[in-house]
Each structure stands twice: as structure tokens, then as C-alpha cells.
């Protein structure tokens, strides 16, 4: 199946195949259990510490899966992606691994910590203004002119199936820790991670409920699921959760989420900052705002974890150190 066939069905088998490709190339990130968190939740909370993945987020999984599927004779065409930062790093690192050129369209206000690493992996960056410009419109002529292979940040079968390996891995780790997961809370932007995880969970752990956590103002995915129609967030809003500030659920991810997502939780910036502080104090992990919303769902009590086994994603850790320090100070105040 070519990586440019974006209309094929997304399957649990696809996730298993992605897991084989990723074996030895992605990190099997730890599934952490913390007694203080369990006490607060009144149940078991299993924390998938994906901040320890290559490039500091789950995005490497899908990116590697996509780039690895480009036939060797096509690699010199290069890959073109757009990304708020984490997908960019994943694509840049995967492309370097396969000696494929990479060009990434990134918001001009992307935290330096994300752009620095993209450059370090040898990719080119084209900046755009995410408050006024449409990144897909910028991508089209470039893609056409240079005949590059598109690597969307979520709306692509290879990306979605790659991200799904996170849930496949988590369920196996949980079973090694004598746990069957009642609910899996996923930090949700465009829905790549959510739809990939939901797809594999339906097969390997059908009793697990899939929940999404979204930041205030960008909770259009749960609104879309509830209304049965893709809603749009107002992308002119500022948010600290840059990694998941997507305008609307994906064309491919939405129908999967609509069928398989059981509930949604919406978190304020205060909830998120408190979760980042908790991760600092008790888990010793750096979590970026967009990667902390699932933990915030538990800590805020907005998701009721009492008596359950709940898995949560800490989906990324690429936060600007100055912002991190200021959020930690704020959360303590």
C-alpha cells in the first residue's frame, strides 16, 4: 500500500504493522504508576510517559511509520509537512533516518525549542502566520512544484496507524502490571493519536472507553462528536496548548472518533498549569501544556476516575523553558 494512498481504510492490522516497523526505532516509553496520583484519583492511573519518546512526543511514531513506507526509489522526492512543532520534529528525524529531504511549514510563533531541533535534524522550515494564513494553501504550490510527498500531521492513514502503536504498547504494559484499562484519556488536537489508539483498542481491549481531553477554546472535537458535524475552533484565540490548537477534527480522524470516543473533558489553562506542576513534583517529568490535558482531566476531577483503572497520555514535553517556569510559578501561587 503506497504511502500516498490516503483513502484506504485505517485498521487495527495497520497498527500492528506499524508496531513492527517501529520496533527498535521508537522508544518503548515507560508506563508509570504513582501512589500519590492513585490516591487523588481513588483508582489506578497508568501514565504513558510519551514525553520520553524520540523528539519528546508521540509524533515520532506516526512520522516514522509514514516515512519508512516511502519506497526507496521515491525518497529523493522529499517529504513536505506542516506542523505546530512536534510532528515537524518527528518528520525531520524520520526523514534523516531514511536520508530523505524534509521541508516543514511551521507557525512563525512556534517555540524555539521545537524549531531548533527541526533544524538540527537537517530539515528546512517555511514559517507562516497561523492567525492569518492557511498552511495547507501554502503547502499546495510547494508540493506541486517540487513533487514532494505530503506528510500531514494527522489526517493520513500511516500517521494515524503509527500513533495507534501507543495504545497497543500501553495495553501490553498494563497487562504486565496486572491491569485492564477501563478508560484511556488522550490529549486531542486533530485526532491522529485518538483515532489510531481507538482503532487498536477496539480490537485488543474492546471494554476500554476512549476519552479525549481538550483545552478551553479548542474543544471543538468533542463538540463535533456531540453534534455529529465537524465544528471549527476560532484559531485566532491564543492558547498555551499550542500542540493541540487545531482548528477542526480531521476528515479521516473524525468518523473514527465519532464512532469510538465515549466522552470529552475540557480543561482550563489553570487546570493545565496545575497538572504540569504535579508532573514536576511527583512524576519528575516535563510536560508541555498540550501534553498535560489528560493528566489535568484526572487532577481537576473533571474526569471521574474513582474505582477505575484509567490510562492517560503525557503526549509531549516540548515546552519553552521560560513558559514552563512561569506556568509552574503561577500554579503554585
Amino acid at each position: 500500500m503506497s504511502t500516498e494512498d490516503t483513502h484506504r481504510t485505517i485498521t487495527a492490522d495497520g497498527v500492528h504493522h506499524a508496531a513492527h516497523r517501529l520496533a527498535g526505532n521508537a522508544i518503548e516509553t515507560p508506563l508509570i504508576e504513582n501512589e500519590f496520583l492513585n490516591d487523588i484519583a481513588g483508582g489506578r492511573v497508568l501514565v504513558k510517559a510519551e514525553v520520553l519518546q524520540h523528539c519528546g512526543s508521540f509524533k515520532f511514531r506516526g512520522a516514522y511509520n509514514l516515512v519508512s513506507k516511502i519506497p526507496a526509489q521515491e525518497r529523493q522526492r522529499g517529504v513536505l509537512a506542516w506542523s505546530s512543532g512536534n510532528h515537524a520534529q518527528g518528520i525531520a528525524r524520520a526523514a534523516r533516518h531514511f536520508d530523505t529531504p524534509a521541508t516543514i511549514i511551521m507557525p512563525a510563533d512556534t517555540p524555539d525549542i521545537k524549531t531548533e531541533k527541526v533544524r538540527a535534524f537537517g530539515a528546512d522550515i517555511i514559517p507562516y502566520d497561523r492567525y492569518s494564513e492557511d498552511r495547507e494553501e501554502i503547502a499546495k504550490p510547494i508540493q506541486k512544484e517540487r513533487n514532494m510527498i505530503l506528510a500531514p500531521s494527522y489526517d493520513h492513514p500511516d500517521i494515524i496507524e503509527g500513533q495507534g502503536t501507543l495504545a497497543l504498547e500501553t495495553v501490553a504494559q498494563a497487562r504486565n502490571q496486572n491491569a485492564e484499562i477501563d478508560a484511556f484519556i488522550i490529549c486531542c488536537g486533530g485526532g491522529g493519536l485518538t483515532s489510531g489508539c481507538a482503532t487498536i483498542l477496539e480490537e485488543i481491549s474492546p471494554k476500554t472507553e476512549v476519552w479525549i481531553a481538550e483545552p478551553e477554546g479548542f474543544d471543538e472535537t468533542w463538540a463535533s462528536i456531540k453534534s455529529g458535524k465537524r465544528q471549527r475552533a476560532d484559531i485566532t484565540q491564543r492558547t498555551i496548548c499550542d500542540a493541540i490548537a487545531t482548528p477542526t477534527p480531521g476528515r479521516l480522524t473524525f468518523p473514527i472518533m465519532q464512532r469510538l470516543v465515549k466522552g470529552g473533558v475540557c480543561l482550563t489553562e489553570g487546570d493545565v498549569a496545575k497538572a504540569m506542576l504535579f508532573a514536576l513534583k511527583y512524576l519528575k517529568l516535563i510536560v508541555e501544556p498540550g501534553g498535560a490535558v489528560a493528566l489535568a482531566a484526572i487532577l481537576s476531577g473533571k474526569y471521574e476516575a474513582q474505582g477505575k483503572v484509567t490510562a492517560i497520555t503525557l503526549s509531549g514535553g516540548n515546552v519553552d523553558p521560560t513558559l514552563f517556569a512561569s506556568l509552574i510559578s503561577r500554579a503554585q501561587g
Copy 2:
């Protein structure tokens, strides 16, 4: 061998036995490799992420080993420890596990993050002024009056052998990653971790050089090794590296270190803050100042890692969030 026999020889076998006791009770913390760190070092750097251990530091290893060896009929006597914070948490958690009362003598200026957790595990705290009082002098009458079992923070065979499991685990993980460790840099306070690791490394990986990293002003261990005589640090000095601000190497740890430690590196507070910032940006781990000195040895270039495989400990992550935020800001400035 009773846990109160503090004169027995410390052996590699003792470390193996400790590892059996700890199996399933301590966390096998990940050994992390980061490409940016490798690039800076010009070699392979294997990072033992012991901040992810129970209670956020390696101290749980020795504490659990000691408490687990108390015969069941003796447990009600309780354990008495003194600690700058990390050992306190380890003892408190291990004591709770075995339903043993615990009393801990802690500096009055211990970061809240450490005292809070000690209390949460149900231990009693006796505060003292570490600039004017001698904690051992405070402990003696309490121990005598209550007939408690002493759990020193480093100078005890069970503690030392427990800490040694960190190196046993690291060598096995490194070999799984096709690496033989040329040098192992250990954050060094009283020398419990260093002497335990050196003891087991001599058996399982005799070519591995043991190095210690110490903070400016509290680099008396390397000075002691060089001079052949236990030196004393001026404990009235302030340091951000509270976890390893010990006055002098241990009676038991010193001869082991003298025989087996190859070199020492002394780090400034600026070196330490930069290492903490690096860990935030690239490793996504919270490291406390005293736990960051080995990483600082690499990043500062004070230890020459070029062309080698170097293992380092990130030995603890219990840092006050306000101090953490201010050090991160300072390191960026």
C-alpha cells in the same frame, strides 16, 4: 546477617542479594540515550534516569534493602534515620511497606517537597538546624531511649549494597543496548551510591572507571581520595545541591571509594543549573541540583567523554518548584 551488623564486609554478592529483594519492589528505571547529548559529548552517554525511581531518587533502593532485612519480630521497634530528604522518603516508604514505624531527623530547611512526602508515608519528622547541630548527636539518645533500629543515610552495608543495584541494573541495560561502559559518573555525597556501584562494577564490569561528581564547596570526597585522608567540608556553606552536601565521606564508604574511584569532577552552581535546563529541554526530566552534577560534568566539558561510552546517574529529582523555576530562568539568561 542482621541489619544491625554494620561492620561486615560490603560485597558484590551483597549487591546481587539486594537486587533480588528489590525485584518487583523498586522500579527498573530507564537507561536513556539522547542524540543531542551524544553530539555534545562526542561519544555515547547513557543516562540512568533514577529520578523515576519510587520517591524520586535512588535512595529507595538502599532503604528498602535495609528495612526488608529487619526480622519480622523486630519490626515494631521502628527505624530511625537522618537525612537531607531523599533517604528520608526512601526509608518512610520502605517502612510503610513493612508496617514499621519510622522517625526521621531532617534539616529544618529541607525543601517542603521532601518533608511533605515523608509525612504522607506516615513517618515522624524531627527537625534540626544543619548549620549548628550534629544530627548524629540528636539521634543517639532517641535511638537509645526508644530502642529503634538505625538506618543511616549511607554508612551502612545494607544501604550501600542496595544502592549498588543501580549499577548492576545499568550494566545489564547497557549491554542490551550494545554498550560496554568505559566510565560511570556518579553524583556523590556521603558515598553510599558510589561505593555500592563501585563494588558491583569491580565484579561485573571491571574495565569501567568509576568517577564522582561533586558540587563546589562540597568536593571533599575527591579531596579525601587524593590526600588519602577523610577531609571535611565547611557545612556552614549554602549550596543548591542539598542532597549531596555531606560533611565528609563515610567511615565505610571511604575505603571502598579510595580503592575504586578513578577521578573526580567539581561543578559550579552555574554548571548545575545548565544541566538542569538541558534535562528539561532534551530529556524531559526534572533533576534536582544534587542529582544533576554528573550530567553537568559532561555538559561543562570538565569530564572528557570524547570517544567513550559514559554512563551517568541522574540520581534524584526532588527539587522545590520555585527553586527549579528560578534556576531554569538563570541558566537561560
